[in-house]
Amino acid sequence: MAIAEWRRQLSLGKVSARELTQEKLSRIKDLDQTLHSFLEVTSDRALADADRIDEARAAGQELPPLAGIPFAIKDNLCTRGIKTTCASRMLADFLPPYESTVSQRLWNSGAVLLGKTNLDEFAMGSSTETSAFGSTLNPWNIKKVPGGSSGGSAAAVASGQCMAALGSDTGGSIRQPASFCGVVGLKPTYGRVSRWGLIAFASSLDQVGPFTSSVSDAAEVLQVIAGSDPKDSTCLNIPVPNYSDSLNDSISGLRIGLIKECFDQEGLSKSVKDSVLEAANCLETLGAELTEVSCPRFNDGIATYYVIAPSEASANLARYDGVKYGYRSEASEDLAIMTARSRAEGFGSEVQRRILIGTYALSAGYVDAYYRKAQQVRTLIRRDFEAAFTKVDILLTPTAPTTAFSAGAHADDPLSMYLSDLLTIPANLAGIPAISLPCGFDQTGLPIGLQLIGNVLDEQRLLRVAYQYEKAVNVMGSSPSGEFIP
């Protein structure tokens, strides 16, 4: 059920917020033993919030846009008084005394929080396997990963445990799991959505966005969370357009560019390539003009990203020293040892690896060769996109080179896992919006994601193209099922 339809039924009194919340909570109870999408389920609060919505409706009050929508939030977004762990031992007991701007905006719009979802530790990973509290499984096939780092949010939406969820996307952490789990995932323009309360991984790349089961729902959620915030200086002070109004407008004559470099990838699976090209053809039949464009530096994105993101992370994660909050190693004889042990015991190996990479890349003697060079390449990648957007309106690529991979597949080779973000990273480096939406299945029945990339702040057009495609194809007529999913 789409958010708009739910709103209609709720206003007609056909269903109550409590009923919907209870339905989702019982689904969580049934499924999440297996899937482990949630790190914490906030049932009491959810029911209390739902009751408030029902009371307001009964009292004839006008309901806010997301009234009664059962939501999940990635556990790197701070929720006041609700544990926010980043799936790390370091923050296992962290209770934020403040609310993230995005969750506050959800409350304000009537959403009902069901709980906090699993992620790769500190959002570092592409499989949700680096979580200190256990992996999340892919609802389409529990032998597969849900993607990451926002794997919990993607799996929760895909399995119907919630209607929508928030994730964060630093190099593809919304889009890649959306692709793996067959849901819609949107990474907005950098600065469109406030980062206040988002526990930083790489501050110049992190952006919060929605997971939903349809494009129109993504537009509804973005509408609520987007907009300037005095608490975040990188948040843009630019009016937010209406994202839903123009979804039905024709895409006839719109120029869509297929990024040549993406389709030439060695690691691109055939079923993904075929499915995405088929989606492109579908858009053509809807009146869009397809062209091939080149972004020569596109494939340098991954190397660039794995210098910049760890560099920023190495500073962002320096604060976890066992002094003020978070995990502290006991029985250390002095301060330096306490800090070192707290970090060695509190952080998992992927987090430690990235802190080490970042520390190295910023060190005297290496900073020019790594960090500064990476910044220069980042500029070139951004220019590639700028040039491409003089020729086309929207860019089209697969979201990930493959469908969901098996759990443990990259355990011994972190670099091979990094490659799964190859196609999503460039949009983060350029700060431009991108969406992943389902466009088919591979021969094993795993969903394939189509990525559409828009120009800066062009979410309206991006959502419109995605919506028109979704309407034409209706891929999501099918949803995950299996022995454990009723």
């Binding site: 501050s203 608490k231 200086s233 500073a315 320096a318 301060l335």
Partner: protein
């Protein structure tokens, strides 16, 4: 090795001055900057670097920093940004300090200092300023069982100071003596106080100076090995630390020893510097641009607006006071040391006081009063116009200087008009020649012996008669007139 006498040793000194900008809230958050309160009462999630929090630049801090930079004749940068300076220390909540590395808010400036030293001619010197940048202050550690982190049983951390805005001002190595260094620092303080951007209180740490100092055998020789000195909390400590260090380094070189690059601490009780840590392998702070803060942008209009708000600065005031008002360099310097005092003086002159007299009263009796009561000139209820009125009463012969001094305590307490007090108490000077003549005649009649002695040559006795006269008139007789008439009458 040559001896001290034929080697013209020269010291090369540069100062790094940290000025706490006196905004009510911290540089990146609304937490209060109040000093001296209970530990950890002026903190919030941003100050403590809690996960998910973000810094937002306090625009007042930017205004203060830019105004300070303008007053130091620095060029305001077209492009400026914040960087993260990374090091682990528990007084630094995020384990990085938000500072400015390669694009400070302002560069390339200078100030003029006036160097006054006992027994030497006062001279003016222009001191170059390399840069001014903004950064956040760290918290404070209190160690138990040791004065350092090392060796302490435990340490407590107070984040009240963490996040207080600092302007770091780096001079060029243009200073040559301890006196110059102290004078430079005090001129920086004076300027900051004139601007109202800092209280410059060294005891509370609002103004902190680190000295970089080396010596070389002549003014042409390359710079020697630089030593950093910290922990001086007065201008005289800066001067003495420099002088001690210059002596120590010269002695080392003359003994054929090397001076090592290190940080030394000034020990106020022992009046010497001692080694704190060696700085051979300089720390790697892994600076990079802070992605949480965008580029710093200031429109030309705002800049112009701020520039127009700058007050007349101490050196300009000094020049004007001596050139236009005819004050001595010394008086000009004393009067301009504090803006409130300078403004009081100017208001008195404006109200018609003669500059020299106003200067004497202000730097003398009024200053003594202000200092003893721990007041500022702006707190005085005795207004500059009142001072001007009093000075004019003296200069016009309406009251004597002595009467003025007598009524001053009352004026300072009540702020009343001197004229009114004089009238009420009948303290006006007797300047009617007839009245004075009458009194003198009476006086001479009551001391016939003394009159005789005078007339037979004991002229010193005139003083005795003056004294008697003043006694009788309660000090109100116009001294000039009285002397003149007395002299006439005594002659007989």
């Amino acid at each position: 090795m040559s001896s001290t006498t034929d080697t013209a040793w020269e010291a090369v000194i540069g100062l790094e001055t940290h000025v706490q900008l006196g905004t009510n809230s911290k540089i990146f958050t609304n937490a209060s900057t109040a000093f001296g309160d209970e530990p950890n009462t002026h903190i919030d999630p941003i100050v403590c670097g809690l996960p998910g929090t973000l810094p937002v630049l306090n625009q007042k801090v930017l205004e203060y920093a830019v105004k300070a930079a303008m007053a130091l004749n620095l060029t305001i940068a077209q492009h400026s940004k914040f960087d993260r300076k990374q090091y682990f220390y528990p007084d630094l909540p995020k384990n990085y300090q938000i500072s400015q590395f390669d694009e400070p808010i302002a560069e390339e400036g200078w100030i003029e200092i006036e160097v006054v030293e006992k027994g030497q001619e006062t001279y003016l010197k222009k001191i170059g300023i390399e840069r001014l940048h903004m950064e956040e202050d760290a918290g404070k550690l209190v160690h138990a069982g040791s004065d350092r982190l090392a060796g302490s049983k435990y340490s407590l951390v107070d984040y009240n100071r963490a996040g207080v805005a600092l302007a770091e001002i780096v001079s060029k190595p243009d200073l040559r003596t301890g006196r110059e260094a102290a004078e430079y620092a005090s001129e920086i303080r004076r300027i900051m106080r004139y601007l109202g951007v800092s209280d410059g209180n060294m005891q509370e740490g609002s103004l902190r100076c680190d000295v970089n100092i080396s010596v070389r055998p002549s003014s042409e020789a390359p710079f020697g090995t630089k030593v950093e000195i910290k922990n001086m909390n007065s201008f005289s400590a800066i001067q003495k630390a420099c002088e001690y260090e210059i002596g120590r380094q010269i002695k080392a070189y003359e003994a054929g020893e090397a001076v090592i690059q290190e940080t030394r601490l000034w020990d106020e009780s022992k009046q010497l510097t001692k080694s704190m840590r060696s700085k051979e392998g300089s720390s790697d702070y892994r600076y990079f641009p802070d992605p949480d803060l965008g580029p710093i942008e200031i429109t030309e209009k705002i800049k112009e607006n701020w520039r127009n708000q700058l007050p007349e600065l101490p050196s300009a005031k000094r020049h004007r006071f001596s050139k236009e008002l005819g004050l001595s360099a010394y008086d000009a310097r004393v009067l301009t040391d504090e803006l409130n005092m300078a403004e009081y003086f100017e208001a008195a002159v404006e109200a018609g006081a003669d500059a020299k007299s106003a200067s004497n009263w202000i730097t003398g009796d009024l200053s003594a009063y202000v200092n003893s009561k721990r007041l500022s000139f702006s707190d005085l209820c005795f207004q500059p116009a009142g001072l001007a009125e009093m000075i004019n009463l003296i200069n016009k012969g309406k009251i004597s200087g002595k009467i003025a001094k007598d009524i001053l305590p009352e004026l300072l307490l009540s702020g009343a008009s001197p004229k009114k007090i004089v009238e009420e108490k009948g303290l006006g000077m007797i300047s009617d020649p007839e009245e004075i003549t009458k009194i003198i005649i009476q006086l001479l009649e009551s001391y016939p012996k003394e009159v005789e002695s005078f007339r037979s040559g004991k002229y010193k006795l005139q003083g005795f008669f003056v004294g008697q006269l003043m006694k009788q008139t309660g000090g109100k007789a116009d001294p000039k007139l009285a002397n003149k008439i007395l002299a006439e009458k005594l002659k007989g």
